[in-house]
Structure formats: C-alpha cells, structure tokens
Symmetry: C2
Subunit: 296 residues, 2 copies
C-alpha cells in the first residue's frame, strides 16, 4: 500500500513521529503537515518530517487519500467539522486521540456520509516530551496501536489503517470504544492525575524550615523522579484528555480513594499483615510487567 | 579519619554499598558484616564487600569503633538491644533507617549511657532492587545524607558520621527528626503507597474481555512503567517503614485524598480552568526538579 497524499493535522510528537516512520518505510509519496504554530511547521519542514505545510485543515484535506488527526483531543471535533467539506470520496480518516467515545460521537455528527471511512485509533506511545523536535521514527516500534471501529465502520478502511500502524512497527489491537476508554483511564489517565497531584502536594509544603539552600527535592530519591516523570507532561493536552473521559475517570478515582482509605485504616490500626499483603501483591504484579522490565 | 573496625549490621543494597564505597576510599581497616541469611553473607564475602561475617550483632559489636545499622527498620530496635552489652566505650553507632523518631526512641531506651554516641542517619539513596548483589560503591555519590541528632547527641559523634557520609560522596544535612519523618512521608513513603495502590487497582481489573493473549499492560505507555517502578520495591521493607511513620503518613494520605476530591469535582463539573491550573502548576514544579532532569 502506498499513500499518495497524506495529511497529518497536528505535527507534534505523535504526528511527527508517524510522518518520519512512514517516510523511512517509503510508504507515502507526499506528507502535508497542518498546524497553527508557524515556527513549529517551519521546523517540521526543515527537519524533513513533512513535505509541505498548511495552516488550514480544509486545504490540507483537498485531494488527500488519508488524513490523520494528531492534534490535542480537545480540538479534534473542530477539525472533523473543518475538513468535511473538502474530503475526497475515498479518503480514509483516522486519529490518534487518547479517548475514543466522544471522538466517535463528534466524527459521526461532523463527517456525515464519510463517517464509515473514519477509523478511530490510538497508538499507545508517547512521552512527557512534546513537539516535533521530540519526534522520532521508532516511537511506535513494538508498541500497541488500538483501533475502535464501530458497527458502520468500513472493513476496508480499518484494513488500511491497520496496515499504516503495522508499517511503523506497531501491533494492532481492536477494542470496543468504551472498553478502550475504561482501560486507558486505569493505565494512563489516572496515573497522570496521581503524579500531578503528588507533585502539587509537595509544592504546597513550606520550605521555610529546611536547611539554608535546600529544597524538598533534595530529600527525594531517584524513585520519586521516576514516579513523577509523567507530571512533566503537557497540561493542556491532559486537561483535554481528562475532560473527554470523565465517566470512567471519576469511577477509577473513586476506586483508588477506597484503596487509600484501606491503607490509612491499616496504618492507624498497625495492621502489619494487611499492609504486607497489599504491598506484596503489587510488587508481584509489577514484577510481571514484561514490557516494563525492558524499559527499567 | 580511619575506622579500624566497622560493623555493618545488614549487608544489603545500602549496607553493601556503604562497605564498597568505604573500601574504595581506603577509609576502613576491617569491615564485619552481619546478617541472618548465610548465603547472602557468603556472597558479600565472595564479592569482597566485607572482610569477615558474623550472624550475631552482639559479637560483631565487640571491639568495633563504628557500628552502622542497615537492616530493615522494623528490626532495628532489636538490634539496638542486642548490641548494647558488647559496645566499646567510644564506639559511635549510626543507622540508615528511613524513619527517625521511632528509632531515636528505641535507641534511647536500649542504648542507655551509650545513647549520646548514637547518631540517627538516613542516606537518601536506594532503588527498587535489594540485596548485596545490587550494591555499588557509587550509590551515595552526589546524594543527600540526613542526620537527625537530638539535644544530647555528642557533637564529636555527629562529626564522625558526617565524615563517613562525605567520604562516600554524599552531602550531609541536619534535620529535626520529626521534620525528617514529615518530609520523607511526602517525598518517599506516600509515593510508594500510591504506586503500590495503582498497580493493585490494575490487578483487580478483569482481563476476560481483552483480545486473545493481551493483558492490560499492553495498553499502558512507558509512562506507566516509570510511574510504577517503585512498586517493585521490597514489600516487607515498606511495611516496616510505613508502620513506623503512621502519624505523618496518615496526614499526607488525607491531604492527597482532598486533592483527588478536587479533581473528581472538576471532572464532574467540566471545570477546564481548574484542571488546567492544577496540571500546569504541577508540570512547572516538576520541570524545576533539577536533580530529576539529570536522571530522566
């Protein structure tokens, strides 16, 4: 499969890495990058990540045979609306958003007759870095890309997007959209909230009583750096993701709070067995994360 | 300063690394390692980490001019009691425990007249690995070592322990014991509880509806691996640490829960500004952790 003209709306870490990987594989003739930050677009051109730049999604959509939405999730509904009038008949539209149910609803309403050729997608890759400068062709190698087609999604469109992600080294899985949002709430959205909150709590601490020149962080181990690394992520991006998955997220926050209550009670009662059991189970589970072992 | 005979009670990651570093600096004539696991002690001998092994803390204390307690925190009170009868008159005793108030109370009660020559200590170094095999001479290089002497601690003893940690590359700070426990609850003990809890929550999820052969972790990014790395830590060690710092820990858990409540409410109300403000502040704070930048 060769894509003649690919439009990537949003040339940041994900959009830029996809462009680089597809070029490296010779899978695409021309990549048009869309963004509203002229400097970032120029940089993408200079780096050879894209072949042509556009500021209008509608213009970039003209004549494209595949369009990938890689903007922050919050602006994707507007992008669906913007591109619809200029879509070619056979174009396949996909996205890389971290939430799927709300985007499917937005796409269905905006794309109209084109909706069956929209394939909701989400490559599970990323980093706390952002921007095209951080993009790299191997970002998706060995990672999972999730597609969440619905009943009226055309199988041929799913097939094309599957090949897109396989070409850049990802393993493709299909999930129900709601299941995707619930799983990601647990594995990604909640952890970000927890890390942001832990850093925020430290920020509230009064450093006035510390030794001259010292800060709280001088008394944190390397473990704290790892634990809070995701709190360096882009706040606007995470606001959008969280606000577009509130139901699942409120539910996992509640379940998590229950766990903290159990720990708090065990501490108050000096319940050794209970604490050991909770910690040992987590330690055992964590040791069995094969993917993480490679990355630790 | 040369230590003629140093007894290290507990030759794991911390005790072993201290031994290696002191040997590398030529600061000690003889190191006696104490443990109850014969295989670990033999390994420490084979690796050249210690010069002689003992299973009895009391025997190891005979004739030692410095004694370092590096066992899990939960057994340190028993070690103080065990060594007291065989302490030399001028011996300096110190420890590496992650909590300080309870250990000072235990030491005061066990050591009696020797108490002024006990210097409570805590090198902020460690890893999710444990055991002498993971020990290395540079573990303390550039790290912070905290001493929490009390009113009746002899300045000369503090001076000796300060030089011990400086020799192995650490920067020494002095904190009030309660302040130490409150700070570490925030920077270390709470994060461990949070990571254990996040992994536990994932463990409760029913994988039955996932695609054949997939597990929840296939849908987690590298960020999740970093975030949960500390959940691979030794559960018995963390049970002991947490149970010996319950007051401060229960307090920070409550403060943390309040933050989760605020996030949950903001999500329910779709409060964009609030979420952005919380995330942006945390992101800014995290970006200013200079020590973490080196390690990311």
């Amino acid at each position: 499969m060769i894509i003649k003209r690919l439009a990537i709306i949003g040339v940041g870490l994900i959009g830029g890495s996809l462009a680089r990987a597809l070029k490296a594989e010779g899978m695409v003739d021309e990549i048009i990058g869309v963004g509203h930050d002229a400097a970032e677009l120029d940089l993408a051109l200079d780096l050879g990540v894209i072949d042509r730049s556009e500021t209008s999604p509608a213009r970039a959509a003209c004549g494209a045979d595949m369009i990938v939405l890689a903007t922050p999730v919050g602006s994707m509904p507007l992008v669906f609306e913007a591109i619809t009038p200029s879509l070619s008949r056979d174009v396949v539209v996909t996205d890389v958003g971290s939430v799927k149910e709300v985007l499917i609803t937005a796409a269905r309403s905006a794309l109209g007759a084109h909706f069956p050729r929209y394939v909701p997608g989400h490559p599970i890759a990323g980093a706390e870095q952002s921007g095209v400068r951080a993009s790299r062709p191997d970002l998706f190698t060995g990672r999972r890309a999730v597609l969440t087609p619905v009943a009226d999604t055309e199988p041929a469109a799913v097939e094309q997007v599957t090949r897109l992600w396989q070409t850049v080294g990802a393993t493709v899985s299909t999930l129900d959209p709601r299941q995707h949002d619930e799983i990601l709430a647990l594995t990604s959205h909640l952890p970000h909230l927890l890390a942001f909150s832990a850093v925020g709590l430290l920020g509230d601490h009064d450093d006035g009583h510390l030794p001259e020149g010292a800060s709280l962080l001088d008394f944190a181990g390397t473990g704290f750096c790892d634990f809070t690394r995701i709190a360096a992520s882009d706040p606007a991006m995470w606001r959008d993701i969280c606000l577009n998955n509130p139901r699942a997220l409120i539910q996992v926050i509640a379940a998590y709070r229950d766990r903290l209550d159990i720990l708090s009670r065990a501490l108050a009662e000096g319940d050794q067995e209970r604490l050991f059991e909770i910690f040992a189970r987590a330690q055992r589970l964590r040791a069995n994360y094969p993917d993480c072992a490679d990355r630790s």
